[in-house]
């Protein structure tokens, strides 16, 4: 019992750290949610987060001594580069109707290459220079990224469920031919969705690097994008579900990092918590396999002539 109370106490202490880890996962997962609801699978979240993280870290380390708004600017640039790279995914998978998994894989491969390549050119080493001061936590030790994540989630929910564009977007993900016959420009909507997901993944990468570490390396993202992808599917493609699954998976990742401080958990290997998000997602995919939670048209190119 004392163990349990101790655990709860530890958990409360860890809350700011948990939120720090949850925030980028949630932001990227909202991007994935928007993208998949429009009918385009996006396994490039991981790579786009890497590109965002590199741009944010590079911008911040170059400007921090001369420009005092360098953190917001770094996040803005991370968002822009994430958006720019997602154009590749949009063009290939929507305009050219290429396999959505292929172009996503291409971006993931490209991401590790291009970021470290640029590090070598700009900083003459395989990582960015470390910055002196990352983002500062606000009241109660909570980083502003938590608020950014919340705002992103609410805006996404508002547009998806309270604006016509959201209804159209969801229609494109369920039955694009029906949507098209109702006068919806499926291609345009899907482009918007993919670009939004790219921008959010970039922003998520920026948030991650500026709060959790002091520089960009090839290991900075380390699966966070794939966890976000898992959060979308475990969250049943719903905003509230994505919020819940991001909180759960983020806590699991946080426990893997901070469990050394928790007496009652030391008997477990830290990998136990690292692996949890993936196991939970796989198991729920099997358990809920009969039910159609996923957008019906996700993964398929839009073909006007198909019924």
């Amino acid at each position: 019992m004392t163990d349990f109370i101790g655990l709860v106490g530890n958990f409360a202490q860890m809350l700011p750290s948990i939120l720090m880890i949850v925030s980028p996962i949630l932001i990227a997962a909202v991007g994935g949610l928007v993208c998949e609801r429009s009918g385009v699978a996006n396994i490039a979240l991981e790579g786009l987060m890497g590109i965002g993280a590199f741009s944010a870290a590079a911008t911040h380390v170059l400007l921090e001594s001369s420009f005092n708004l360098s953190i917001p600017l770094a996040l803005l640039i991370a968002t822009a580069t994430g958006l720019a790279f997602s154009v590749i995914h949009a063009f290939a998978s929507i305009t050219l109707k290429a396999d959505q998994i292929v172009s996503g894989t291409g971006i993931n491969l490209l991401s590790t290459g291009i970021t470290v390549f640029l590090c070598q050119i700009i900083f003459k080493q395989e990582r960015t220079e470390p910055f002196r001061l990352g983002m500062m936590p606000g009241p109660f030790g909570v980083y502003p990224t938590a608020w950014i994540a919340l705002v992103v989630l609410v805006i996404a929910w508002y547009f998806l469920y309270r604006r016509p564009v959201g209804l159209r977007l969801r229609a494109c993900g369920e039955h694009p031919q029906a949507a098209a016959s109702a006068g919806i420009d499926v291609v345009r909507i899907r482009y918007i969705a993919v670009l939004v997901s790219g921008a959010l993944a970039g922003l998520a990468g920026g948030c991650l690097v500026l709060t959790q570490t002091i520089q960009y390396t090839v290991f900075t993202i380390n699966g966070a994008g794939f966890i976000a992808l898992a959060a979308v599917s475990f969250g049943r493609w719903l905003p509230k579900g994505v919020l819940g699954s991001s909180l759960l998976f983020g806590s699991s990742v946080a426990l893997a990092i901070y469990m050394v401080n928790i007496q009652s958990l030391r008997f477990l290997p830290s990998e136990f918590f690292s692996v949890m998000p993936y196991v939970i997602t796989l198991v729920t995919l099997v358990v809920f396999s009969g039910k159609d939670y996923a957008p019906r048209a996700v993964g398929q190119a839009f073909d006007k002539g198909k019924s």
């Binding site: 050219l96 290459g113 196991v279 997602t281 796989l282």
Partner: protein, 375 residues
């Protein structure tokens, strides 16, 4: 519908590219290299260094010093073997209509199983390493087969499932390997010699490179792939399932078993790759500190190789060449990541294939509208 001889040149070019997947791959690879070269020049480095590194890896000739060393050729093959095997893994699934993003995880379980057998099985010369290889193949097949079974029985997307299985494999491998007596956080005790794939002959031939029996295993795998997919009843039913599930079922093929078998065989190739890397290139078991990436690179290999046996082998050698030239590029002031950039670009350009086809369809429609036809 082939464009006739007197058709406009652009029609004939388009026609050539749509009728041959191999040519498209060549074009896509050239485009990738071209963009990579431009990028290197753009950042003010000399692209010639990149190509002299590649020449040195493929031929053994150091053009700058005029020295020949066969070890570079050996190391090129060492790098290519796991790429070819992981490429075959993705390609086999691809031929049966499945997308195996999970070669990486299947590689990891293969590597882990091989390490366990290497450290714990009896040290019988000639049998020890065979057992380790078999264990790795079985582990890879199991890891792939699980995904196949989930896909067949519960229609769980193999893309999402394999991504999850990759990380489950990685973290499980770390936990299990650290449990081995004498292991620390990054390695196990040294393997006995009976578990290693060392080939004194191949080493002598390549001036002491790490080239090992894995070479013959890779050659055998390419042949196995070619025979099974193209020449056997099993291969036919697997491909039929990939082309049209309902037709296959109507034709009397057990679709559930087909999908599971296809993913199991696919995983076996990647498991073998794990064994070859751990027993061939390392003298001790590794506690992985990150994913090696051969499985992800295997996706690019299979895509460029059009999922054929020969194409995948060639694409594996091509990307192996790029990757093993990396340290040489770095010593010539060219960031070695240019290799992964070129691979990524090539995969992105593969989507152009779809674009070329659309262009052809559009042109045909235009021509038909004008009342002309092409034979």
């Amino acid at each position: 519908m082939r464009a006739s001889r007197d058709a406009p040149l652009q029609d004939r070019i388009l026609d050539t590219f749509t009728s041959s997947d191999g040519l498209v791959s060549v074009a896509v690879v050239l485009l990738g290299f071209l963009m990579g070269t431009l990028l290197v020049a753009l950042v003010g480095r000399n692209p010639a260094g990149m190509y002299s590194a590649i020449v040195q890896v493929v031929s053994g000739w150091d053009l700058r010093r005029g020295i020949w060393n066969a070890r570079y050729i050996g190391e090129w093959l060492v790098m290519s073997i796991p790429l070819v095997l992981c490429g075959l893994s993705v390609a086999f699934a691809g031929r049966t209509g499945l997308f195996n993003i999970g070669a990486e995880g299947q590689y990891v379980v293969g590597l882990t199983a091989a390490q366990f057998v290497a450290l714990f099985a009896p040290h019988t010369a000639g049998l020890h390493w065979v057992l380790a290889i078999l264990a790795a193949v079985a582990a890879g097949a199991l890891w792939g087969g699980i995904v196949g079974a989930l896909k067949a029985r519960y229609s769980v997307s193999e893309v999402v499932a394999t991504i999850m299985m990759n990380y489950i494999a990685y973290f499980s491998s770390r936990v299990l390997t650290q449990l081995i007596p004498g292991a620390n956080t990054y390695r196990t005790p040294t393997f006995p010699d009976t578990a290693r794939l060392d080939s004194p002959f191949l080493q002598a031939l390549t001036n002491g490179s790490r080239l090992n029996y894995g070479l013959w295993l890779a050659v055998a795998s390419v042949l196995f792939f070619w025979v099974v997919i193209g020449k056997t009843r099993l291969g036919f039913s697997l491909r039929a399932t990939g082309l049209n599930k309902d037709a296959a079922r109507y034709g009397g093929i057990n679709v559930t078993a087909s999908v599971t078998t296809a993913m199991a065989i696919s995983g076996a190739f990647a498991g073998l790759a794990g064994a070859v890397v751990s027993l061939g290139s390392f003298s001790y078991g590794r506690v992985l500190g990150g994913l090696d990436g051969y499985g992800f690179d295997g996706i690019a290999v299979a895509l460029v190789g059009n999922s054929t046996a020969l194409g995948t082998a060639l694409a594996g050698l091509l990307f192996g060449m790029l990757k093993s030239a990396q340290p040489l590029m770095q010593s010539r002031q060219i960031p070695k990541e240019i290799a992964s950039i070129i691979m990524g670009l090539v995969v992105v350009f593969i989507s152009l294939r779809a674009g070329v086809r659309m262009l052809v369809e559009w042109r045909m429609k235009e021509l038909a509208r004008k009342g002309r036809t092409i034979e």
